[in-house]
Amino acid sequence: MMVSHNYLTSSIGKKQIMAITGLGLVGFTVSHLIGNFLLFLGPDAFNTYAHTLTSNPLIYLAEVGLGSMFLLHLVLAAITQLQNRAARPIGYLAKKSTGRGETFASKTMAYTGLILLAFVIIHLINFKFGSVYESTIEGETVRDLYKTVIEYFSNPLYVVWYCFAMVALGIHTSHGFQSTLQTWGLRHPKYTPMIEIIGMLYAIFVTVGFSACAIYCYLQN
């Protein structure tokens, strides 16, 4: 199998890679959310999960994979954005949507994407590289990430920012999900409306799910 030299620079190639990396990030988001649900079960369940995850040597591989997916998605998005701007140097005075095409989500992909970029950086600083506490579970010393999380969300401003970013995530993926399938050539008069609904449900699930975790933590204080 030989990938032609210009697949990656072609408009379709770039979009397909963006779509695949986006889908990978969607998968990661779901697993992250399911992990977060352990917060509801209390410190031990959550800390054991976090410990098992971070003490597995494969985590480094996963982190590199995830990081490169994220970066690739971002770099391609930046390149296509710049090209798209260059493709229309003079804008319209009176541009008006037909109301049958673009959506709020599709129009704001770059902005919601930037919010998510800021969010991911802040998120890593706050949690992965945030305050470290220790606790003992069955004789083993583990990081008390639960405490870090609860402590963080004691500030209502952080809760608001977190929920805001999760709304951006929902909006971003509501367009991204169905767009991914279209970009990979999967479109069908019967299934596409269903796919759009699944994308919407997914978006609502992640937004509500993550926000619920944050609000729950706030209430624990």
């Binding site: 030989m2 072609s10 408009s11 798209n84 493709a87 005075l93 037909t98 049958r100 279209q182």
Partner: protein, 257 residues
Amino acid sequence: MSGKEKIITVHLKLWRQKNRSTKGFFEEHTLEGVSTGSSFLEMLDQLNEKLIREDKAPFAFDHDCREGICGMCSLMINGQAHGPERATTTCQLHMRSFSDQDTIVIEPWRSSAFPVLKDCMVDRTSFDKVIAAGGFTSVNVGNAQDANALPISKENADLAMDAAACIGCGACVASCPNASAMLFTSAKISQLALLPQGKVEAHKRASKMVEAMDELGFGNCSNHAECEASCPKDINLSNIARTNREFFKAKIFSEKE
């Protein structure tokens, strides 16, 4: 003409530009005595007669058949390609879609691949280049063969015909927030890829046409679907999905480097 026809006054805000290399600007005109029964282009003819009488340069815009089949007319009317009606070319648009004292903003297709020649006339040679990049189709020569020798399903014949309805006006590019030409290119790829005659070079054609499209400076499709919504011929987004598939196959399974 129907009895409901009215005479209205419209305020026009037109894009004027002398040639490719000069900067353009908006010019305002008020046109009285416009019949709602007249077509949009007839209204512009009326304006031009007035401008000529006043010894001013007439407003340049593209048009030819004036019956929605040639694809020459190309105006951005109040921010919408071919105006507010669905599946309608500018030449098929009528003044009954507007009201008395309306302000109508008229702009050219905005795309770096469609340079303005004069006022709202743009050069759409880029589209011809995309088509030319598609190359030839292999056909049997000699006596015409029996029509039944080439089985084509009714579904595919219909889909190919729907794609072939594209008149190449450029509304897809004009309305796309990214100024992408994917709908046009995909219609031209699909109309051949769906039929046995076009199958032989289908992958190569997809690859070449997309390459040409990228090189000409059109933007990248991000599935807004404004193109489909603005298309006067209702060309479907499934053509873009088909092109994405064909292009991937062409690139990944090509024997050549």
